[in-house]
């Protein structure tokens, strides 16, 4: 099974081989002849998108390993045949240390290996196994490496090879490629550790030099902030140390401090009058929550996630994060660490919650973008989307958390700056919603080791991307290691239940500097950096302090619990180390051995940020109202909209996520007779002993934002809530999150739109009586190509978790039974601004849908009462594409026809240029649903909805078609097969 050239041949090859052949045993495991090679075939499939004109004939994929050279040949043979190589499907190729591998004739070789210092989980797992099973010594664990080998056949040019390698086989930000040459690095990064204090002279610097220092040091501090630092140290009469300056930069970063949302803003109204906002977040979104004062809110806006009461002794929490800039550079690693980070937010909420559901939303460029239209330094949207999906898949699935819902939005505005939102819901005993830190507690670092990865992530995420971002900021990108995080999850919850700590937070942006700095606010801390376990030597003291290496948590541990905690962690192979103590000094003191590398006043760190006044104004774009043109053929228009990128099926993505793990799935992301229809929201059952469910839904529509950011935000809230109500959740027991991704808010127009959206959040939350409990903003989502700056569309994601009183009363959107009655609930207005119908026609402008805050909240509650009483057989919200799309989805979801008379809809007097049939079909007015009711339940249903706009449109029919009677037109009928086919016709990978 193991093939290897003879020793004589091997030594002959050494002299001819380049010097860089690894001094390690090299094993390459390929599929045996006759065995399927799915990975190779998948690469062949993706290669069809490249311009290779048939020159690629085949790809064989191999897994490669490097093992320490001092292992004996017999030992390596044993490892290969029992561990690395499957006896049924694989064949291995073994190469002695320093030799070149024996390569089959006629193939081109492409090797891909992670760069030194980048996480290599396979190597780590293998190294530990070899040690555990007595095959290798402890010190050999870290000397195992992995790589990938590809053998390509066909008449490929060097250019082809390079294109394949760079676009399909590796990401050169974190991996190195070798084309037809067999060298591979076999050493760990390291070098002499330059530990100890480093003085950064800045007291004498002028403005230009301060800015230069901020730029070259990747501090991302503004001149005003640099001056504040300078003044602070001038008053102290000394220069800052590197670790101190880095701590200030991390703590004051936009990412951590939210300087814009929490700053002072002078807003100019359209009439020229002005008003001032002191802390936009506090005065709008959080103000609404505090005014509502809902008693289920246990912890809002103060922790890593918002926590609300669920049932009995239990609470649930929710957080959504953005991970935009890393995902632009390395979609796979960026998305993986994004989901890993938000999971840690949940682990660090209160005393630590158990993650029970993941959710995500991606905003990317169009998948059919011409290669020439991809800006220099950017990745093609297809590659971004595939990478992001794979990253979320590999991290979320391995964590054992069901990914229950998600969304993708395509728009040209995201080409250079895609958005990746990742969210996690957690379950926590209500009594554990609060945490504390007491002087004398140990500071314990738990989880992954610290390396040079991810340095300057917090400050990197606070600046605009450019064509140079890929090279300048590659060290800000990391590869996640979900299995290490799973170990952290396991021991953390066990330690929580055993009462072994009293405070916890995650190590996110800024690393220890942020985590310890935040926890010590109000007390003080001394940290011993020499105790921090490192992945490899050679880090400076301040690198250890600010590294954003993943999968780490920081705990505050009472002295009498320390030993028990460390034992628990050791018992499950999770690393935990005491790295310092909290105290009551009000200072953050960093020691590295005997030396002090930082000594900071916590008050300056947390409250010393200058608060300059920013200016905001917003002018609506001056566009004529395009009206609502009639469709030449309404059937074709509906079919076309079902295939629109933002409407078409996401099944290829959804199937790659485990949405069933933990056994709590009640409503899945895809529903219906053939499980191919898009549900309005997912429901999970968090507690096995209770039938109370939790729905997870979202709302976002960036097409609305450019025309009317205020309406966009209200529509987002309405969408998230109506999705929840559609599946049977109680709008009165709902909590929502805000996630703003915006352009550069130093520009007044940009900030003006943000202010309007935030004010809408306040008004919406108050009207629906739905509190925001947490949120996050990601500003500076801009992309520079040459002199031109491109901003993303204003993007506000509203995420909602709402309680379903009894999961047995959950409602899915697919039509259930011929003969049942179909109603439209809610009123249709001529609101087509930002609609998919106008986009399909290439028209801009118009009135953006805006929920009626007087009537919408009561309508949602009335509809929920009907659902809770069991009166709804199906319910589907009307959103992108309006009633036309919703009716089609409801029909093919149920494998049943619908017969609807849209002339019954009271459209009122329409403005000129608004075709009544198109308004009925494609208006995107908010707070509307299609509802299926059994005939015997109709009167009860109508009673529940008394006083609200309800129109009996028709019924479910056996015939496999969507039959519509349209105002002012002839009846039309579309076969379900056409609807389904179009819905499945979107981009798939």
């Amino acid at each position: 099974m193991v093939s290897s050239r003879s020793d004589a041949e091997a030594s002959a090859a050494v002299s001819a081989a380049p010097m860089a052949l690894p001094r390690a045993w090299r094993i390459e495991v390929f599929r045996a002849p006759g065995q399927a090679d799915p990975r190779g075939r998948a690469i062949e499939g993706l290669a069809a998108e490249l311009q290779l004109e048939g020159r690629l004939e085949g790809v064989r994929f191999g897994r490669g390993f490097l093992l320490p050279p001092e292992l004996s040949r017999a030992a390596v043979d044993e490892i290969v045949s029992n561990v690395l190589c499957d006896p049924v499907v694989d064949r291995a190729r073994l190469t002695a240390p320093g030799d070149a591998p024996e390569v089959p004739g006629g193939v081109r070789r492409v090797l891909a290996a992670v760069m030194p210092g980048v996480m290599d989980p396979v190597a780590r797992s293998l190294g530990r196994l070899l040690h555990r099973t007595g095959r290798a010594d402890q010190d050999q664990i870290g000397r195992v490496q992995s790589f990938r080998a590809h053998e390509l056949s066909g008449d490929l040019t060097d250019g082809d090879l390079r294109q394949l390698g760079q676009r399909l086989l590796a990401n050169e930000t974190i991996e190195e490629l070798h084309f037809d040459e067999e060298s591979l690095g076999y050493e760990q990064p390291g070098g002499e550790a330059q530990r100890g204090p480093v003085v950064v002279p800045l007291l004498e610097l002028g403005d230009a030099e301060l800015l230069e220092l901020s730029r070259t040091g990747q501090l991302s501090l503004t001149l005003i902030e640099m001056r504040a630092v300078q003044a602070h140290y001038a008053a102290l009469g000394r220069e800052p140390l590197a670790a101190e300056l880095e701590t200030v930069a991390q703590t004051w970063s936009e990412h951590c401090k939210h300087k814009t949302l929490c700053g002072i803003i002078e807003v100019e109204r359209p009439d020229g009058s002005k008003y001032t906002i002191d802390n936009l977040l506090k005065s709008t979104i959080a103000a609404a929550t505090h005014e509502l004062d809902r008693d289920f809110c246990l912890s809002v806006f103060v922790d890593n996630a918002g926590i609300v009461h669920f049932e009995g002794e239990w609470a649930v929490c929710f957080k959504v994060e953005t991970h935009n800039h890393p995902s632009a550079i390395d979609p796979y690693g960026g998305a993986g660490t994004g989901i890993g980070g938000v999971i840690r937010d949940i682990l660090g909420a209160g005393l630590g919650a158990k993650p029970i559901a993941n959710t995500n939303a991606f905003f990317v460029g169009p998948t059919d973008l011409a290669a020439d239209d991809v800006p220099k330094g950017s990745l093609h949207p297809r590659r971004v989307l595939r990478g992001v999906v794979a990253g979320v898949r590999d991290y979320g699935n391995r964590m054992g958390i069901p990914t229950v819902s998600g969304g993708v939005w395509f728009d040209k505005g995201y080409v250079g700056n895609p958005l990746v939102y990742a969210g996690t819901v957690g379950l926590i005993p209500a009594s554990m919603a609060q945490k504390e830190v007491r002087p004398g507690d140990s500071i314990v670092a738990l989880g992954g080791r610290t390396g040079r990865d991810g340095i300057h992530g917090a400050t990197f995420s606070s600046i605009e991307l450019s064509e140079h971002s890929e090279t300048e900021s590659s060290h800000a990108v990391q590869i996640g290691d979900p299995i290490t995080e799973k170990g952290v999850l396991d021991v953390l919850l066990a330690a929580r239940d055993a009462g072994l700590y009293r405070g916890v937070t995650d190590c996110g942006a800024g690393g220890f500097s942020s985590a310890v700095g935040e926890m010590a606010e109000g007390t003080g801390a001394e940290v011993w950096l020499e105790r921090v376990p490192l992945k490899y030597p050679g880090l400076t003291s301040h690198e250890v302090w600010i590294s954003e290496a993943q999968e780490r948590m920081v705990l505050s541990v009472p002295p009498d619990k320390l030993e028990a905690l460390l034992e628990l962690c050791a018992a499950e192979d999770v690393e935990a180390v005491e790295i310092g103590r909290f105290n009551d000094s009000g200072r953050l003191v960093l020691k590295d051995g005997e030396e002090t590398v930082g000594d900071m006043d916590l008050e300056f760190l947390h409250d010393g940020t200058p608060r300059p006044t920013r200016h905001a104004r917003w002018t609506p774009p001056e566009l004529p109202d395009p009206g609502c043109p009639a469709a030449a053929d309404p059937s074709k228009a509906i079919v076309a909209l079902l295939g629109a990128p933002n409407v078409a099926s996401r099944e290829w993505i959804i199937r790659q996520y485990d949405h069933e793990v933990q056994g709590g799935s009640v409503l899945k992301p895809l529903v219906g007779e053939r499980s191919d229809a898009p549900g309005d929201g997912a429901i999970v059952q968090p507690l096995r002993h209770s039938r109370r469910g939790l729905s997870i839904t979202c709302g976002a529509n960036p097409l609305y934002g450019r025309l009317d950011p205020y309406a966009m935000a209200l529509a987002g809230i309405d969408e998230a809530l109506r999705n929840a109500v559609a599946v049977g959740a109680d709008p009165d027991q709902a909590a929502i999150l805000d996630n703003f991704s915006w352009g550069n808010c130093d520009r007044p127009e940009m900030l003006g739109a943000l202010v309007l959206a935030a004010e809408a959040c306040q008004d919406g939350a108050l009207a629906y009586r739905t509190p925001f409990i947490s949120g996050k903003d990601s500003l500076n989502n801009e992309y520079r190509v040459g002199d031109q700056v491109h901003s993303i569309p204003h993007t506000l994601l509203i995420s909602c978790m709402a309680q379903v009183p009894d999961v047995a009363r959950a409602v899915s959107m697919d039509a259930k039974q011929a003969g049942n009655v179909i109603y439209q609930v809610g009123a249709t207005h001529p609101e087509l601004g930002g609609s998919h119908w106008l986009q399909e026609l290439g028209l801009d402008g118009g009135t953006v849908p805006r929920p009626d805050l007087e009537t919408a909240p009561a309508l949602l509650r009335a509809l929920h009462a009907a659902a809770a009483a069991g009166k709804l057989r199906a319910c589907h919200d009307l959103s992108e594409g309006g009633l036309g799309v919703a009716a089609a989805e409801m029909a093919f979801g149920g494998d049943l026809g619908l017969e609807l008379d849209l002339t019954k809809l009271p459209l009122g007097e329409l403005p000129s240029g608004y075709d009544p049939a198109s308004v009925a079909l494609f208006s995107e007015s908010c707070t509307r649903f299609l509802v299926e009711v059994e005939p015997h339940a109709c009167s009860a249903f109508e009673q529940h909805l008394d006083g609200h706009p309800v129109t009996r449109l028709g019924s479910v029919i056996e015939a496999q078609e969507l039959r519509l009677n349209l105002p002012g037109g002839s009846p039309c009928a579309v076969p379900l097969a056409d609807l389904r086919r179009s819905h499945q016709s979107g981009f798939q990978s």
């Binding site: 399927a36 799915p38 099973t133 699935n397 054992g400 979900p482 299995i483 056994g663 007779e673 059952q685």
Partner: protein, 261 residues
């Protein structure tokens, strides 16, 4: 002698993630359960003697690194081979679900613990689609040595895996068949030979689960513990009211058999 409620030991390690719902299903079927970490079992192998059922649940043990189930299987071979052999010879039952099935194959429990890893005849490897897929399939219980599974029953169950394609030579499949080791097959809704996606991974002979020659060791790729409540089924909102999911029957059969042992 076991009391009326047999005890199931649920073995977890780094990356295991289905232990809670598996315990719930076993308890609903009448067993008592104890979830134990691999490191504890290695320290105290005597724990095996307190149980009648050993379960290796689903998940991503050690991240599926190298190959799914490889590292967990290797660790069990290294540390607990003799104790596991004694447990099975003593009449114990073993269930491996998804990653647990992959572990049982690596460990050699289905072919016999005496077979070295390098001479294994059965592999679970990359799905034909080369990707992880989560979807519901239809299973048909076979007439096998695992007589505690009701033969002929056709039932829905979800799969969620990337490496679930069973590969073996025709001779090996024939031998498995003759020894009554083919316990579960994927089938189509109308009973015809399943094709993708009803056959989600490309398994030879549409094999979804294998037992050993004694019938007391069973491994399967699908997740029966994810179809135990009335609300697990993907179309439960279209179905008449139900009391439980179809997957519970498998656990009930296992627990009943272990109670009789």
């Amino acid at each position: 002698m076991p009391s009326q409620a047999p005890k199931a030991l649920i073995l977890r390690t780094l990356g295991t993630n289905c232990e809670d719902e598996t315990a719930f299903a076993l308890e609903a079927a009448g067993a008592t359960t104890e979830v134990v970490h691999l490191n504890r079992l290695i320290e105290k192998p005597g724990l095996l003697e307190t149980a009648q059922i050993l379960v290796v649940p689903g998940g991503f043990s050690y991240g599926d690194d190298v190959a799914a189930g490889r590292i967990f299987g290797q660790r069990l071979r290294h540390a607990l081979q003799a104790q596991l052999a004694a447990f099975i010879d003593g009449g114990g039952y073993v269930l491996g679900i998804c990653n647990g099935f992959q572990v049982l194959v690596e460990l050699g429990l289905l072919e016999g613990l005496h077979v070295p890893a390098s001479e294994r005849q059965v592999a679970l490897t990359d799905n034909e689609s080369d990707r992880y897929e989560c979807r519901w399939v239809t299973l048909e219980n076979q007439n096998s040595a695992a007589s505690w599974i009701e033969p002929g029953t056709v039932w829905p169950c979800p799969v969620a895996h990337a490496e679930g394609k069973l590969v073996a030579t025709p001779e090996t499949v024939q031998a498995l068949e003759e020894r009554g080791q083919i316990a579960l097959r994927y089938t189509s809704a109308d009973g015809s030979a399943p094709e993708y996606p009803e056959l989600p991974n490309g398994s030879v002979g549409a094999i979804a689960g294998l037992c050993d020659a004694t019938g007391r060791v069973l491994g399967l790729m699908p997740h029966p513990e994810r179809n135990v409540t009335p609300w697990h089924h993907p179309r439960w909102t279209r179905l008449p009211s139900r009391d439980e999911g179809e997957g519970l029957a498998l656990f009930r059969g296992l627990v009943a058999a272990a109670a009789r042992a």
